[in-house]
């Protein structure tokens, strides 16, 4: 029963996206701008000073950042549902609260994955070098990053009361992370304060995991990747578990206050 409920809730999110193709198109605008304009201009400006291609560096970073952010933002729709009261129907059903949250995370992750596949397609168009094994590995990493982003969304949004507040707060939580996680610039040699803040940013581990997989076996690996992907995976698993348990507990507690 719980598994069927998880799939049904996730399927509902997927159907929402399929019935709203404009949402998919608009969600691709920012990644394309980031990769095409920022990646391209950085490469032409600073490319000669470093020993790796900036466009590739930014592409993998933006892929991870987009998936993480999109899943987290997608969880916002839980607030929207709460306001239009659909979520009450789900909350009075006999399924576990964790089932609701997991179903929501998986649903939003599926939505983000579709976006991720479109970004990979864009990568092919602009000439990012891929082979089948890198693509398959990146798809697996994308799943992990999406689910991780969803769990982060649950934690952040569990304390928000309205869509308006969520929209106001989200940029303050996401924008600093984008810069502190090294999506656009290397962060291996940050000043101490920024280094601490960077290590506190969950997105950092998602971005570094994606780069660890993309650059595995390449000569640029040591210049680009911060820590071994296994370390990132362990940290991500720890944070995911904490976010889901704490986020669900806070969400349910606030729901029944």
């Amino acid at each position: 029963m719980e598994l069927s409920a998880v799939v049904a809730l996730a399927y509902r999110d997927l159907m929402k996206l399929i019935r709203d193709p404009i949402r998919l198109v608009t969600s691709l605008i920012f990644p394309v701008i980031f990769i095409g304009i920022l990646g391209g201009s950085f490469q032409s400006g600073f490319g000669s000073m470093i020993d790796y291609d900036f466009m590739h560096f930014v592409f993998v970073g933006v892929l991870a950042q987009t998936l993480f952010q999109s899943s987290a933002l997608g969880i916002i729709s839980l607030i929207e549902d709460r306001q239009n009261d659909f979520i009450q129907e789900v909350f009075v059903s006999p399924i576990s609260r964790y089932t609701i949250v997991i179903g929501k995370i998986i649903g939003e992750s599926l939505v983000s994955l579709i976006q991720g596949i479109a970004i990979l397609g864009f990568g092919v168009v602009i000439g990012i070098p891929f082979n089948i094994s890198i693509v398959l590995s990146l798809v697996v990493v994308s799943v992990i990053v999406c689910v991780f982003g969803g769990s982060f969304g649950i934690l952040v949004l569990s304390n928000l009361k309205s869509q308006r507040i969520a929209n106001q707060i989200f940029p303050f939580i996401m924008l600093p992370q984008i810069f502190l996680s090294g999506v656009f610039t290397p962060i291996g040699d940050l000043p101490i304060v920024l280094d601490v803040l960077s290590r506190l940013s969950p997105m950092r581990y998602a971005v570094d995991l994606a780069r660890g997989i993309y650059y595995a076996g390449k000569t640029e690996y040591d210049s680009v990747v911060l820590v071994d992907p296994t370390v990132n995976l362990v940290i991500i698993f720890g944070l995911f578990s904490t976010f889901v348990i704490l986020g669900t507990w806070l969400f349910v507690r606030n729901e029944r206050k």
């Binding site: 069927s4 049904a8 809730l9 129907e89 009075v92 006999p94």
Partner: protein
Amino acid sequence: MKPVIEVKDLTKRYPQSKSNAVDCISFDVHQGEFFALLGPNGAGKTTTISVLTTTLIATSGTVRVCGYDVDTDPSGVRRNSGIIFQNRSLDENLTAEENIRLHAILYGMYGFRPTFGTMPTDYKHRVEELASVLGIEAEIHNPINTFSGGMKRKLEIIRGLIHSPKVLFLDEPTTGLDPESRRNLWEYLSDAQQRNGVTVFLTTHYLEEVNNADKICIIDRGKIVSLGSPDEVKSDLAGAYLVVDCNERSSLIEELDSLGVKYEVNRRIKIQVTPSEVHKILRNIETPLSNVETQDATLEDAYLKIIGEDSWS
């Protein structure tokens, strides 16, 4: 026989509030009863139904639904309840059938299937039957944002009953509906109650919706003002009236003021009395009366007495 709903000393105080939204209320509802919780806006109706349906935690007191404690076994309560919320709780992105299917899966009736065509035959028959009851055979696979308000409400009732709950909770279900939709909805609900033998727990501030109730509980400012059958509530709260008139109204009004009785001046003068007081009041009135009549209180009188004490001078 044990009651289906048992509420004992239920109190709810919201965080940062200085007073109780629901203040130590107790009542029982039995199998198959139509129970109406009636009160003005802000009386504590939605708070009470929210605790009963496990969406809100009580500050103190015990509540059991179908033998399950709402605090310690909310899942048992949810399995046995169907709920129609005050605000629409349909997913506007889905079709009518998809809304019903999601509900059936969440209540463990069927495993997940991505389309109507892949669902088991008995589910398909059931949905077709329900669509025909509602007269929406052609629209059952349409997005529900094309449905009228009344149709959406009926769809919610169908959805709320599909898992055969023992209790159907309805929180002000006709709010926002036009009079015809309201009447249609009540006919449909009454029919559904008879067919399913389900216990109905209704909150409302519309008096006409509680006329057929087996038991009425009137609540105001979080406290129960009256509880019983419609007749018991009428006699409990409003007793009877003595309706009089005369040619010299000002002199009669002066007399009534000096006697200290409650009255209301409309087309005639309506004096609130208990049956035993009628003779005594008439004996004390010296102004010649042109008309004397006694009237039993209506439910409306009882209700107005609670929410509009000020209308009596």
